[in-house]
């Protein structure tokens, strides 16, 4: 079984990130060096001795979103129009701009270096990245520090694009209110461009049926490239909620951390070193405080401890009796 190491990005990683992230995100990746609220986790195959310097995937974990700059999503609701005297009963979908997920944690920027991955890995790595980020949130919830995030996590999935790369949802809605070039705004402001654009968007509920059909059809639709991410989120208990992205209309998956715990139970237990572990299974493990996560072979014992081969522990730097956060639902 192959080891995987996930750790926060550092400035030194910037040159190797260009394969994963667009240019405008690289700066954000570097500036997040010491910001625990905004972690870009990089996934490296193998242990430290393998000197893997180029990550094969990444995921951003934001612990408390929208507190410094407001974040916006469209809430997808329903309004019933009923007129008894005409015998009419009509349901209308509505979109309302709001900041509903403020304070939640967010998974974002999930990228994998697909050309360097085996086909099977292309499905597994997103799962690993999602599970690792969630493990850190689950750990934090057990030992909440000051300013802990609310017990919710969201992840906006990329939405539908047409053949030219344009987002039909934006073309049918946002463009009428911000006619500027979105790529340029994105390059200049990064994700913050959505906050700036939201100032130009309607503040009152919009009736969906007023939008042109392509825009309506894009509401909640997922880009085909994001299917692995969707599956990974679904396995961990995240589901499409009632919000969509204000640019491409992609669905915002969401879950309460209680539900994440049900899908991915975690244990806080001391490490028991063994010369040999029978039938090792992939375990996803984090230490007490830092944001490094390991995927290593080991097993959970009946007493609630975690067992690991001494050689493996030495490889990743764990020691006997060290307290670890473990989930047995790691994905190799």
């Amino acid at each position: 079984m192959k080891l995987w190491h996930l750790r926060p990005a550092r400035s030194a990683d910037l040159p190797s990130l260009s394969r994963l992230l667009p240019n405008w995100e690289l700066e954000a990746a570097a500036s997040a060096d010491n910001d625990g609220d905004d972690r870009l986790l990089l996934a490296f195959p193998g242990g430290p001795d393998e000197i893997a310097t180029t990550p094969l995937g990444c995921i951003r974990l934001r612990r408390r979103i929208g507190l410094a700059q407001p974040r916006f999503w469209f809430h997808l609701g329903v309004r019933v129009h009923a007129a008894a005297e005409l015998g009419m009963f009509r349901r209308e979908r509505t979109l309302l701009l709001g900041n509903d997920h403020t304070g939640a944690a967010e998974l974002a920027d999930l990228c994998i270096d697909a050309p360097r991955l085996q086909p099977a890995q292309r499905a597994r790595l997103p799962r690993l990245l999602v599970r690792a980020a969630l493990l850190l949130l689950q750990r934090e919830r057990r030992h909440p520090g000051p300013g802990a995030s609310m017990p919710r996590v969201i992840c906006a999935l990329p939405g539908r694009r047409d053949d030219s790369g344009a987002a039909p949802f934006w073309e049918g809605l946002g463009r009428h209110f911000y006619p500027g070039n979105v790529d340029q705004a994105l390059a200049r402001f990064g994700e913050l461009w959505r906050t700036h654009a939201a100032a130009l968007l309607p503040r009152h509920p919009l009736v969906v049926s007023v939008l042109r059909e392509a825009a309506q059809a894009a509401i909640g639709a997922i880009h085909p490239d994001a299917e692995h991410l969707r599956d990974a989120l679904a396995e961990c208990g995240l589901r499409a909620g009632q919000h969509v992205d204000l640019f491409d209309g992609g669905p915002v998956f969401e879950s309460h951390l209680d539900l994440i715990d049900a899908h991915q139970p975690i244990a806080h237990c001391p490490l028991q070193l063994r010369a040999h572990v029978d039938r090792p299974a992939p375990l996803l493990i984090a230490g007490e405080s830092d944001d490094d996560v390991w995927l290593v072979p080991g097993s959970m014992d009946a007493a609630g401890g975690v067992e690991m081969a001494s050689a493996t522990a030495a490889q990743v730097g764990f020691t006997q009796a060290q307290a670890l956060w473990v989930t047995a639902r790691g994905d190799s």
């Binding site: 005409l86 009509r90 911000y178 654009a197 130009l200 009152h204 009736v207 007023v210």
Partner: protein, 353 residues
């Protein structure tokens, strides 16, 4: 004035019970969008009875409807119909869209946009409402439409206790001969789920509470509508152009409200601000010879409610006296010495005929 005074062969009077055939004739010729005269004999009979009662009653409650008939005196034919509803939406709300503009701004993006929105509102509830303007097309190029429309203001000015201090009037919006209406297709159809002629038949007005049940309470953002629907906002059906121009000349505001169904402009203004009302005054009618060189065009009506009559004619105003010939006095059902309400009329270019 020239030495030959053109006679005005038109008389506006309160509708009588004999006017039902004329009402039916105009209702049959109404395009979709003129909601106050559906082609339905029972409805028209009821409406006429209601008008007769309104003119007659001393106990005005606000639900009165006053219908007027315009006669071609040469033939005796009724060539036009117009009316006033004392209170729009009486006993219920009267719905309109109000034009509003919101300015959105993002400093970082360097963008400021002015967005046109339509708000469903009840602002015009309980104002007095001009209704049922219909005229025989053969008379469009005469002064007949002027008398048919403006004499209503003289009636209101004479009987102000029966009306609100604000007047509104709907104008038919854009619709084709089949009743297809781009504004309705883009807005109302989404909420009512039926075509425009059907909803016209079902609703017959803007005062039904189910409108609120079906229409969205939040504003409609105009940029999201189809180009065709955007273009139709505030546009007139060709049949409405002449009566609309008369209302604009009176000083009505046409920029604030729209009809919720066809997007045609709903004009409104304070009564006192309207030209005919502000110019109108009470004079004493005197029989006398007309003096062409001193005559000016005047809208004239008697002060009677039930036997209301009005003319548009050249006449001499001398101090507090209006000099009228015997024919005019007779048509107005006046005797020399009676009081009349008079408002000077600006003859449109190319008129009169």
């Amino acid at each position: 004035m020239t030495d030959a005074i053109p006679t005005t062969p038109f008389l506006l009077r309160a509708c009588s019970a004999d006017d039902l055939p004329a009402l039916e004739r105009f209702a049959a010729a109404s395009p979709v969008g003129i909601t106050t005269l559906p082609h339905d004999r029972a409805f028209l009979t009821d409406r006429l009875q209601r008008s007769l009662h309104s003119f007659a009653t001393e106990d005005a409650s606000g639900e009165e409807i006053y219908l007027f008939a315009l006669e071609d005196l040469a033939s005796g034919a009724v060539i036009g119909i117009s009316g006033i509803a004392a209170r729009a939406g009486f006993n219920d709300r009267f719905y309109s869209f109000r034009n509003e503009f919101v300015v959105h701004s993002s400093k970082p993006l360097g963008v400021t946009t002015r967005i046109h929105t339509l708000h469903l509102c009840h602002d015009l509830t309980d104002v007095s409402l001009f209704i049922s303007f219909h005229i025989d097309p053969a008379y469009l190029d005469t002064l007949a439409p002027q008398l048919l429309s403006r004499a209503r203001l003289l009636f209101i000015a004479q009987h102000t206790e029966r009306f609100a201090d604000r007047i509104a009037a709907e104008s038919a919006g854009v619709a084709d001969d089949n009743g297809r209406c781009p504004f309705w297709d883009a807005v109302g159809r989404r909420f009512f789920g039926m075509d425009y002629p059907t909803v016209e038949r079902l609703t017959g007005g803007r005062s039904k509470s189910f409108i609120a049940d079906l229409m969205p309470p939040s504003p409609i953002y105009v940029p999201l509508l189809s180009d065709e629907a955007q273009w139709a906002i505030g546009q007139l059906h060709p049949i409405a152009e002449l009566p609309f121009s008369i209302l604009l000349d009176e000083g009505f505001d046409a920029d604030t409200y729209l009809d919720i169904f066809d997007g045609g402009p709903t004009v409104q203004e304070r009564l006192a601000m309207l030209k005919t009302v502000s110019r109108s005054r009470i004079l004493t009618a005197r029989a006398g010879p007309t003096a062409p060189e001193r005559a000016t065009w005047q809208l004239v009506c008697n002060t009677d409610r039930q036997h209301f009559r009005a003319l548009l004619l050249p006449a001499v105003v001398a101090g507090e006296t209006l000099v009228l010939d015997a024919d005019a006095l007779d048509r107005l059902a006046l005797l020399s010495g009676d009081r009349v309400r008079v408002a000077e009329f600006d003859v449109p270019a190319g008129e009169p005929r």
